[in-house]
Symmetry: C2
Amino acid sequence: MNRSVFFISDGTGITAETLGHSLLAQFGSLKFDQFTLPYIDSPERAHDAVRKINAVAAEDGVKPIIIDTIVDKNVRKIIANANGCMFDVFETFVGKLEEELGVKPNNTVGKHTVDTLAYKTRIDAVHFALDNDDGARTRQYDSADIILIGVSRSGKTPTCIYLAMQFGIRAANYPLTEDDLDGEHLPKSLKEHKNKLFGLMIDADRLIAIRNERKANSRYASPQQCQQEIRAIEGIYIKEGVPFLNISEMSVEEIATRIIQETGLQRRIN
Amino acid sequence: MNRSVFFISDGTGITAETLGHSLLAQFGSLKFDQFTLPYIDSPERAHDAVRKINAVAAEDGVKPIIIDTIVDKNVRKIIANANGCMFDVFETFVGKLEEELGVKPNNTVGKHTVDTLAYKTRIDAVHFALDNDDGARTRQYDSADIILIGVSRSGKTPTCIYLAMQFGIRAANYPLTEDDLDGEHLPKSLKEHKNKLFGLMIDADRLIAIRNERKANSRYASPQQCQQEIRAIEGIYIKEGVPFLNISEMSVEEIATRIIQETGLQRRIN
């Protein structure tokens, strides 16, 4: 039977979920039914949450796990009365942090004000990624922080978007086409920005699978075509001295983090 | 003086950072210098990390805060010897979880395998958001989970991308143009999918500021134009019964979470 887990927050619930996913991944042999309850920021909503938890507890016949990041102590106390096993993140850490920092926590949070500059940086980076996706244009490369290159469907687009959304990094991407690959060279528009280039590499079997999802049984998805493109692009990376990374086993988060680590690229937001 | 904070992980560091940001937000009166050290997954790298922490400690004259999500106990022990104040997330929670779940943690993590189905769902959703951005096409609306509408620069694009990246939701967006707004009606292509529509609303002063960043002193960014568009679109939302949300004070995460909450939209990945 799956164990039920509740992520509860007075905000979006993203912190509780992110932490919860990491913790549950430590118990990979078990399966979990996950429920996120965001915006539990009043006693009324906390009582609603308790009713939901108790209903699941009754159905499961076993206490759900509760991972919460609620700031308000009174709201937290209500949740603590639910029929669950509670992991109270702020209760656990904020006291020790208060001691170490010598400052009282401002218990009013949950509603954080939007940092206007960070918001703008981030949104601009997202629009930059979209405008410069898939080699759509190259004249903005002067203002790119990084330009990802790779064969079609090697993960360039999601990585650029993640770099923009998470770190405010202005990332363009350019697919190397058959012409480039046959000629064993970088296009002129890329050569001019060689110091910004980073290559994505992918295993043939993974590429074949991904392309078959898109265009089943096409030449584009054929083992021969995929293998040939991969060999050619690896040759170009090596010949041109473009740093590259095999992303076959990585999530988008990992690709982005590895690229930052390997290039020393600076984040624009924290 | 800013207090230094290290986020340390054997993986990307995203969990340590996300949790850390939430905790530090509780101490809004202080400023922090933040360092993320990802992929600290061996004794050698842990010793490197300790040297970095100790150097910062010496420079600051005060212990840095350390928030870590390292799985391996031996690596963690090395970090614990650094001259810092350590908040050890897994040490804190995994023992109690183990007790509650009655299963040993698989201490090998940090390197999680990619969930292929979730990866595909997510990447497909990102490509869907891009293909259906800004009203570029409407013929895929049958397979959209949601269609965001709003005036230009009211946050539609980043929200769609976030919904795709975080939740695997297939989100299209369509800007209501002056013609639509003047006519006080929804375009035909939207009317057909009325049950999928969700409107974004924004305060005039925020819209004026955002548009001025883009095209300073233009008619597009003028108070009169912005106010008129906002009045018109609110009229359409109300007349057509389109649910809507004022996003002026919200981060992209909050907009996405609120939309899910208000529409009951199902996530496609957890």
